[in-house]
């Protein structure tokens, strides 16, 4: 069965069909939430809230890109989590992510990847996560959706409930700010990920 069949079945109340959609998108949704929020616990909460909200409102889905519709729900859930974190600041995993000696936990390792390559990629991931943390929320979300999740400008505009021009400007500013951060931090990166390296 294809995605549209599952969507129609889920709109009729079929929980099993909806869970098939969850299985297809849960990696992407959690990844986006993790990139935006910066810690695993908040990302789990946002992902769970997003799927619950999607299940409740799936009858309101009127076609188009289901991925964009789902990611819009995720971004709203991320905004909610960010507001919670702003109201109740605590020693979260953000501090751990900003700590170079404590890389981000739970990163996926490729099957053909050597332990050294995986360790270097973990360092890269931690550095990028720190760079994302300095960006404003809207720029961070735009960059996560377009550069990490691979959404088009139109899909990102749909997911962020804005227009394409705003997506272009936010993305341009986010890339420039992250570039400046990475250029400054590139000495901390493994050699193969530095700017003048041929491997990049």
């Amino acid at each position: 069965m294809d995605e549209q069949t599952f969507i129609r079945a889920a709109q009729k109340g079929d929980g099993a069909a909806f869970n098939q959609l969850v299985r297809g998108y849960q990696h992407q949704v959690y990844r986006t939430a993790y990139r935006v929020l910066g810690d695993a616990a908040s990302a789990q909460d946002a992902t769970q809230d997003a799927f619950i909200a999607a299940y409740k409102h799936i009858r309101a889905f009127r076609g188009g890109s289901f991925k964009a519709w789902l990611l819009r729900i995720v971004t709203n859930a991320c905004y909610d989590q960010l507001r919670v974190k702003q109201r109740r600041p605590s020693a979260s995993l953000d501090a751990m992510l900003l700590d170079p000696d404590n890389p981000a936990p739970g990163l996926e390792r490729a099957a053909s990847e050597s332990p050294q390559d995986f360790a270097e990629r973990q360092e890269l991931g931690a550095t990028i996560q720190r760079g994302l943390a300095i960006l404003p929320h809207d720029q961070r979300m735009t960059l996560a959706l377009v550069d990490i999740e691979g959404l088009s400008y139109d899909e990102a505009a749909d997911a962020l409930s804005t227009n394409v021009g705003t997506v272009k400007s936010r993305l341009s500013r986010a890339r420039a700010a992250l570039r400046d951060f990475l250029v400054q931090q590139q000495e901390l990166l493994p050699a193969r990920y530095r700017l003048n390296s041929e491997k990049v």
Binding site: A9, K12, G13, D14, G15, A16, A17, F18, N19, V22, R23, Q26, H27, V29, Y30, R31, Y34, A40, A43, Q44, T47, Q48, F51, I52, Y55, A104, G106, L107, E108, R109, F118, R121, Q122, L124, G125, I128, Q129, L143, D147, I148, Y153, K168, L171, S172, R175, A176, L178, R179, L182, V183, Y193, L195, V200
Partner: protein
Amino acid sequence: MVERNNSANTHAGVEARLSEYLDHRLAAHEHARIEQHLRECAECRASYESLRWTIALVKQAPAPALPRAFTLPVPTVAQRAARPSLAFGFAQFATVLATLLLLAVIGVDLITQFGGGTIASAPSVAKQFAAPATAPAAPTTAARDQAAEAAKPAQAPKPAEPTKPAAPTAAPKPTMAPQPTAVPPAAALPAPMSVLPTPTAPRTVVGALPETTETKGATDTTTAKSSSATPAFRAGLAITATATLPAPTATLAPTSTATSVPPTATALTSLTIVAQARAEATRAPAPTQVPPATAQPLVTPLRVIEVGLLILVVFFGATVVMLWRRK
């Protein structure tokens, strides 16, 4: 100075469009213009390279592993559609049906009690149990009739008319049933008259009164006690004991009849006729076979059905509430 400003504006413009240029989101002529500038400007080219490097790094960043599955514990369509809603609908339907049946049965019960007049009140039932009306009211009314006829011997015997005033209040059918045999007109039915003692032989009939009370046995205690009373009182009691309990009004009617009989020879005659009627009632099989209409037990099938339906209503109602709360 102007060239420097134009160059700065060009660098700023190119820098602002590098992101779209990398994503190939520019128009063809704009894309060509930026491409041309990057070939000529080392500063902008370095900016372009660093931006491309940044995007490549972001895309190479390792993805976080999924900590757990985010599937929801939601029911399937079959579970949602079949089980809860079918059970809920059945419980609703059963509750409504049981309630309607209960109301119908209660209505029938009330109509039977108050509309049909079989049981007027609990005291009448208690009277029935105290003195069962083995002899129906018809012989009593016939006796009253014959007593009236004895008081007027010149008149021709008539069919039992006094039963009509008692008919609307007393139980009608069992009272009327024995009439043709208990009250035989002398001309129309000679055979029963030959069997029964005639009113012209009062002595033998008076002697028969203890026999009938004896044949009644312990059930007719009122009649047995009346043997020591005055004749009129005895006649009244006899009539009362035999006509007791089709209905409360039936007990009143013979009493008034008894009080209207003077304690004279006519009273003795009426007592004789009462004895006649009682003797006939004990001999005739029909009145003893007719079940007393007022002998309705306290636990009737209708009551059992009412209780059963009430239990069903409560059960299905509780099921509906439980399923509704679960929904």
